[in-house]
C-alpha cells in the first residue's frame, strides 16, 4: 500500500492536521470540526461510512470519544480500526495526561479518569504523539516507511524550532489569571503559565448556571482576572453575561485547526491562540 492510498480517520481536527504533517499523501477525514464539541458527537451514517474505509483511526483517547467511537466501531464492521494492536491510535496513551483521577463518580460531573484528553496544546506532548503516530503509520503501511520517517524529521525540526519562539512570545502571559469554560485549555495554560482560577461550568459537562455565574462574579471582584476564555465550540452566553458585569474581556480561542481563519494547521493554530491571548492582555 502506498501512502497515497492510506485512509486516515481522525476523531478531531488537530489529529487530522497532525496526520497531514506526517502522511501528506494520505486520504484524511476529520470526524469533527473545531466548532463541534467532541464529547457529544452523533455516531452518524457518514462517520460509519468513513470508518468502514479507514486503515488508521487517530483519536485523542482518554475516553473523550467514549460516547460515539465505540458505536462507530461496532457499526462500521472494520476490523482494522478495532484495536490499538492494529490501526487504532490514541494520542493520550502516548503521553502522561494531566489531572488523572484515582476514582471517578458521576457526582463529580463528566470527568475522565484517564486524565484531560485535550492535550494538543502541549507542544512537547504533541512531538511524542507525532513520533508514536509515525510508528503506527509505518506498522500499517511498511512500504512507505521512508516517506513517513522523512515527514516526521521535517515536522520535528520545524516544531522544535517553533517551540522556543512561541515560549518567548508567550512570556508576558506568565502568571496571568483567567476564568475559562471547562478544562479545554488546561495544557495551554499549563505550558505558558496561565492560571485558570475558575470554571464557567459548575461541574464538568454541566452548562453554566445562574447561581454559579453569580459566584464567579464575586470571584472577579478580587480584580486579578485578566479575561474569560471560551473555546470555539462552547456557548458564549454565560461568558458574555459575566464579562459585561465584571467588565472583563471575553475571548473565544480556536479549539483546533479550523476554529478561526488564521488556524490552518497546527503551527498557525498555536500562533493564533497566543496572538489572541496577547491582544486580550494588551487591551
Amino acid at each position: 500500500m502506498a501512502s497515497a492510498e492510506l485512509n486516515i480517520f481522525a476523531c478531531e481536527p488537530e489529529y487530522a492536521a497532525l496526520a497531514k504533517e506526517l502522511a501528506p499523501n494520505a486520504r484524511i477525514y476529520s470526524a469533527t470540526t473545531a466548532m463541534q464539541d467532541p464529547h457529544q458527537v452523533q455516531a452518524r451514517p457518514s462517520l460509519i461510512a468513513k470508518m468502514r474505509q479507514a486503515d488508521i483511526a487517530v483519536c485523542a483517547g482518554a475516553d473523550l470519544e467514549i460516547g460515539w467511537l465505540p458505536m462507530l466501531q461496532m457499526k462500521s464492521s472494520n476490523a482494522k480500526v478495532r484495536s490499538t494492536d492494529q490501526g487504532l491510535f490514541y494520542a493520550a496513551e502516548q503521553v502522561e495526561t494531566l489531572d488523572q483521577l484515582k476514582s471517578v463518580d458521576r457526582s463529580m460531573g463528566d470527568v475522565h479518569a484517564k486524565g484531560n484528553p485535550h492535550l494538543h496544546f502541549s507542544p512537547e506532548r504533541m512531538l511524542k504523539v507525532a513520533q508514536a503516530l509515525t510508528v503506527k503509520l509505518t506498522a500499517v503501511d511498511p512500504a512507505s516507511k521512508a516517506e513517513y520517517e522523512s515527514a516526521l524529521a521535517d515536522f520535528s525540526q520545524r516544531w522544535t524550532a517553533a517551540i522556543p519562539v512561541w515560549e518567548k512570545k508567550a512570556a508576558p502571559l506568565h502568571g496571568k489569571k483567567v476564568i475559562a469554560y471547562h478544562s479545554s485549555f488546561k495544557y495551554l495554560f499549563n505550558w505558558v503559565g496561565i492560571e485558570q482560577v475558575a470554571d464557567l461550568e459548575p461541574k464538568p459537562g454541566l452548562p453554566p448556571s445562574s447561581s454559579h455565574l453569580a459566584s464567579l462574579l464575586t470571584r472577579t471582584e478580587a480584580g486579578d482576572v485578566m479575561a474569560i476564555i471560551v473555546a470555539s465550540y462552547q456557548d458564549e452566553r454565560g461568558a458574555n453575561w459575566l464579562g459585561e458585569r465584571a467588565n472583563l474581556p471575553v475571548q473565544v480561542l480556536p479549539m483546533s485547526v479550523g476554529g478561526n481563519d488564521q488556524s490552518q494547521d497546527l503551527f498557525s493554530l498555536y500562533d493564533s491562540v497566543l496572538d489572541l491571548l496577547l491582544s486580550v492582555k494588551a487591551s
Binding site: T32, D37, Q42, R44, R52, D63, G205, D235
Partner: protein
C-alpha cells in the same frame, strides 16, 4: 419469565460492581461496561397496547453488561425488571454475541437482540423522546421487537453510508393468537395450530449521509412472519386483549400480525455548526404496512377483500438548551379486527407533545400529553393522557446510535 433467585443475585452482583469500579473507563478484563436504567412514572390513564399502566409505576428498569469477549467477539446482556400487578418479572431483552473482526464489512450477531427493522426498533427505549413507542410499534412489533435469532450485516465501503442485513428469529412473540397462547379455547380446534419454529425472517437496508450541518438516514425493511396469519376463531382473544380485560400484554407480543410487514423509515438530525452540545433537532418518521393476515378460507370470501393494516408517525424533537428539549409527534394506526366472518376496521390517532428537563445527559424528567382518538375497540377510557416520567442512567456511558 419470573426467575426470582437469578434476579436477586444479578442485582447483587451489579451492585458490587457499582461500588468498586470507575464508570467512565473503557471496559477491560476486570471492568465490563455496566449500566442501569431507572424509569418511573405517574400516568392518569393508559395508552392502548402500551406497557405503562395507570397510576404510579416503573417503566423499563434495566441492567446491562457489555464488553469485548476477546478480539473476535463482543457480548452484551440486558436484563429488564418489570413489575406487573405486584409481581416482579425478570426478562432478558438482550443476550447476544457479535463478531468484531470479520473481513469485508460483514458482521454476525447471534442470541437475543433487537431486530434492526425500521428506525426506532433497535434503539433502546430509554433513549426515546416520548414515554411510549408510537402506536404503530405497539400494534405491529410489541413496542420493540427483540427475539432469539441470528443476523448477518454488511456495510458497503462507500462514502454514502449503505448497510444491509438479513435476520432470522424464533418469532414466538410475533405469532398470531391461537394455539397454546389461547387459554380460553385450549380445547377448541385451532388450539392445535402448528406454528413454525423459525417464524420470522427480515431483510433491511439503510442509507445515509450528511447535508450541510445535518445528517440523514433512510431505510426500507421487510419482515416475513410465517406464523403471522390469523386462524379462524382467534378474534375473541384479540378483542378481549384490546379491550383491557386481560390486563396488559406483558409478554411484549405484537397485538396485530400478518405474514408480510413492510417498513419505510427516515430520520434527519441537525445542529448549529453540527455541534450537538447545545441545540439540536431530530425529525423522524416511519410507515408500516401489514398484509396477509386474513385466515385462509375457501367457504367465505368476505375476508378476502379486506384492506391492509397500516400505521405511521412523524416526530420532531428540539433540544433548545442542554437542559431542555421538547417534542411533538403525530401518528395514525389502522388495524383490522376479525369479527366472525368479517373484519372491522379500527383506527387510532395519537397527537402528543412532550417537554423534558435534563440536569445532565444522564438524567431526564419528562412531562408528556397525549390526545388519543380511537374506536371502542382500543378500550380507551380517556382521550387525554398525561405522563410524568423520569429516566436516569447510571454506570457506563452508553454510546448512542444515530
Amino acid at each position: 419469565m419470573t426467575v426470582f433467585n437469578n434476579r436477586v443475585s444479578c442485582v447483587a452482583a451489579a451492585c458490587a460492581f457499582f461500588t468498586t469500579s470507575a464508570f467512565a473507563e473503557n471496559p477491560t478484563l476486570t471492568n465490563p461496561a455496566i449500566s442501569a436504567v431507572l424509569d418511573g412514572y405517574y400516568q392518569n390513564t393508559e395508552r392502548p397496547m402500551a406497557e405503562r399502566g395507570e397510576g404510579f409505576g416503573l417503566g423499563h428498569t434495566e441492567i446491562a453488561m457489555s464488553a469485548n469477549i476477546d478480539d473476535m467477539f463482543y457480548g452484551k446482556l440486558t436484563a429488564v425488571i418489570e413489575m406487573h400487578d405486584g409481581e416482579t418479572e425478570l426478562g432478558l431483552e438482550e443476550a447476544f454475541i457479535q463478531t468484531l473482526a470479520m473481513p469485508w464489512g460483514f458482521s454476525i450477531r447471534a442470541g437475543r437482540f433487537l431486530s434492526d427493522v425500521g428506525y426506532l426498533n433497535n434503539q433502546h427505549v430509554h433513549t426515546d423522546a416520548f414515554s411510549d413507542r408510537p402506536a404503530a410499534y405497539r400494534a405491529f412489533l410489541g413496542s420493540h421487537y427483540f427475539d432469539d435469532g441470528v443476523r448477518v450485516n454488511y456495510v458497503a465501503p462507500t462514502d454514502l453510508y449503505w448497510t444491509m442485513g438479513l435476520e432470522s428469529f424464533k418469532g414466538d412473540s410475533m405469532r398470531a393468537a391461537g394455539g397454546e397462547h389461547d387459554d380460553h379455547e385450549a380445547d377448541s380446534d385451532h388450539a392445535e395450530r402448528d406454528y413454525k419454529n423459525i417464524g420470522v425472517y427480515t431483510a433491511y437496508t439503510k442509507i445515509g449521509g450528511d447535508i450541510g450541518n445535518g445528517s440523514w438516514q433512510a431505510g426500507l425493511s421487510y419482515m416475513r412472519n410465517e406464523n403471522g396469519r390469523m386462524v379462524e376463531g382467534e378474534h375473541e382473544e384479540h378483542a378481549a386483549l384490546a379491550a383491557g380485560d386481560e390486563g396488559h400484554d406483558h409478554s411484549h407480543s405484537a397485538t396485530f400480525t400478518g405474514e408480510n410487514t413492510y417498513i419505510a423509515d427516515f430520520v434527519y438530525k441537525w445542529a448549529p455548526n453540527g455541534n450537538y452540545k447545545y441545540q439540536h433537532l431530530t425529525v423522524s418518521g416511519e410507515y408500516f404496512k401489514v398484509t396477509d393476515f386474513a385466515p385462509l378460507q375457501d367457504d367465505h370470501d368476505s375476508t378476502a377483500s379486506v384492506d391492509d393494516m397500516q400505521g405511521w408517525y412523524l416526530s420532531s424533537v428540539y433540544q433548545f438548551s442542554p437542559n431542555w428539549s421538547a417534542g411533538v409527534r403525530y401518528g395514525e394506526t389502522d388495524v383490522q379486527e376479525l369479527h366472525g366472518d368479517h373484519f372491522d376496521a379500527q383506527k387510532l390517532k395519537e397527537t402528543e407533545v412532550s417537554l423534558a428537563w435534563h440536569h445532565s445527559h444522564f438524567s431526564t424528567v419528562r412531562l408528556q400529553y397525549t390526545n388519543q382518538k380511537g374506536t371502542n375497540y382500543f378500550g380507551i377510557e380517556d382521550d387525554n393522557v398525561l405522563t410524568l416520567q423520569y429516566v436516569m442512567t447510571l454506570g457506563a456511558h452508553g454510546a448512542h446510535q444515530f
